[in-house]
């Protein structure tokens, strides 16, 4: 059996971030998210978060970015200067822009922002995305029971492409969004992207020695979904951590010509 390809150090950092996000989410008043359950839009695959009215607290967002930066600096002293530099660039106006662009997964904007300001490319989107997630997770909590997934549209709450499924209970396959933690059931032999359920065009890739995971690959749309039997786990990690620790399966699938988001969607992977 192989241990995760992700270092323990990075896994621990992500676990700490997940803990912070959970605290932040709990500190939010649930009323800051007002979902607009437009059935027609939802049926067309528009994510609920895009329709919802979310009352972002900009000063809180900036405070979270400070807390996140501190957490990273605690583990990586060498990043103190770089993160401090990014923080000095942030004002209320930039923060609003960051929220909008993180919301729509606009990697191009963040890459340009980094280039224009001479900072490392990963930093702006990493900070913005992680500080945005508590709002998305709160939205998912509120609409979990009513949000309906549409094949090809990704997560019904935040729009993140589907790429991670867990086997639960008696073997039910449940897609989990590592971004907002929304989850929805799906047939065992079905592509999460195009809805193809023809068993002749669905393949499974397994990694030798890995008893609890496989990759469902669709020959029709060339999409893939990681399927992990978390019933075998002693303790079940959050979907964000599970997505991270199973990243080698993404490499395996992509090396075999499959995509997490068939089409041209961007992912947070």
């Amino acid at each position: 059996m192989k241990k995760s390809v992700v270092s323990k150090e990075y896994q621990n950092l992500q676990k700490e971030i997940a803990k912070l996000q959970e605290q932040w989410k709990k500190s939010l008043n649930p009323d800051v998210v007002k979902p607009n359950l437009d059935q027609a839009a939802m049926s067309a695959g528009v994510p609920v978060a895009a329709l919802a009215a979310i009352d972002f607290d900009i000063s809180l967002f900036l405070q979270w970015i400070d807390e996140l930066s501190k957490l990273i600096v605690d583990q990586h002293q060498e990043l103190e200067e770089k993160l401090g530099e990014v923080r000095s660039l942030l004002n209320e106006e930039t923060a609003i822009r960051w929220i909008d662009e993180a919301f729509s997964l606009n990697s191009i904007y963040f890459a340009r922002f980094a280039e224009e300001n001479g900072i490392d490319e990963w930093i702006p989107q990493f900070l913005a995305e992680n500080a945005l997630r508590p709002y998305l997770q709160l939205t998912a909590d509120k609409v979990q029971d009513v949000a309906k997934a549409v094949h090809g549209a990704g997560c019904p709450v935040c729009g993140e492409p589907a790429r991670l499924a867990q086997l639960e209970g008696e073997g039910k396959k449940v897609i989990h969004c590592p971004r907002c933690h929304a989850h929805w059931p799906e047939k065992r032999i079905q592509c999460s992207h195009c809805g193809n359920d023809d068993h002749k065009t669905i393949q499974f890739i397994t990694v030798e020695g890995e008893a609890s995971s496989q990759v469902l690959c669709c020959e029709k749309c060339k999409g893939y979904t990681k399927v992990i039997d978390t019933r075998q786990f002693i303790s079940r990690p959050s979907s964000a951590i599970l997505d991270l620790t199973s990243i080698h399966l993404d490499f395996v699938a992509q090396e075999n010509g499959y995509q997490a988001a068939p089409g041209n969607l961007e992912t947070n992977n």
């Binding site: 059996m1 241990k3 008893a211 609890s212 019933r231 075998q232 786990f233 002693i234 303790s235």
Partner: protein
């Protein structure tokens, strides 16, 4: 130390499907052992070097005069104070951080002391042949799937148990579940009990039994054999201390002779005391 885990086997939920046996064979790559019909549903008389867990079937007349058909998943108990570990002269048997008891085949010399001293009779020796045809033996038993535990996975038998008769988790949580379960079934099974024998310091496979242990063919009060305790806890440390003492005495004598016996040496050099 990593978290201490326990496998909780609630025999009152077991339906005797034997999937745990298949899962064990499958995960540990153990060969099949064709058996003659034993006159019962039970496939193997006991665990063996190639069958690390066996589902036992016992017909029992209960206190109300009715017949109970009792099933039990039987495998290594992973004692907290394991006799096999105590008697192993090569230190081939050890405890893992999870509490499981494992055998290091590189160290095992096949002496069979562990097999003879296990109070539960769950270790067996297997005959192997090397490339020159020379026969040798190694001890084998359930490992609690320690290789899976290291990856954060539950033992194979637990994950396959469809009625949920087996659970795996932190020791305290499992003990609480066991106590709760016993209180639930007491009305139906007045003799229901938790099997976590103190004579071996407790075990890492804990049972919820419907009847007394002896009904299932389990020892009522298993103990680490006195000879094993004497050997490991007294004879070995004293022996090691004595070896240490003798070594120190020899080293001391050598040093004393070499560096402090100068008088005799000086005389020799002078040649004064010799008269041949």
């Amino acid at each position: 130390m990593a978290t201490e885990y326990v496998k909780l086997v609630d025999v009152t939920k077991c339906d005797g499907c034997r999937a745990c046996m298949v899962a064990c064979k499958n995960w540990n790559d153990l060969p099949a052992e064709p058996q003659d019909f034993l006159g019962t549903m039970q496939s193997h008389a006991n665990v063996s070097a190639d069958t690390w867990n066996v589902l036992t079937f016992v017909e029992h007349e209960n206190s109300k005069g009715g017949l109970d058909y009792l099933f039990r998943h039987s495998s290594c108990y992973h004692c907290v104070d394991a006799a096999c570990e105590k008697v192993c002269p090569e230190s081939a048997i050890s405890y893992t951080d999870f509490g499981s008891v494992v055998i290091d085949h590189d160290k095992c010399v096949g002496c069979g002391y562990c097999e003879q001293n296990c109070p539960f009779d769950v270790i067996s020796l297997k005959e192997y042949k090397d490339k020159n045809g020379k026969e040798y033996r190694k001890a084998n038993k359930c490992t609690m799937c320690t290789d899976r535990l290291e990856e954060g996975l539950q033992p194979a038998c637990v994950t396959t148990c469809h009625p949920g008769a087996m659970q795996f988790g932190e020791k305290e949580e499992m003990l609480q579940k066991a106590e709760k379960r016993v209180s639930e079934i007491k009305e139906r099974y007045p003799n229901a009990t938790i099997y976590n024998p103190a004579g071996v310091g407790g075990t890492h496979t804990i049972y919820v039994l419907a009847e007394k242990p002896s009904v299932y063919g389990m020892p009522e009060n298993p103990k680490v054999p006195t000879s094993a305790v004497l050997w490991k806890d007294y004879a070995q440390p004293i022996g090691k201390a004595m070896v240490g003492g003798v070594t120190m005495a020899l080293v001391g004598a050598f040093v004393a002779n070499k560096f402090f016996d100068k008088k005799g040496k000086e005389h020799e050099e002078d040649g004064g005391d010799r008269h041949e």
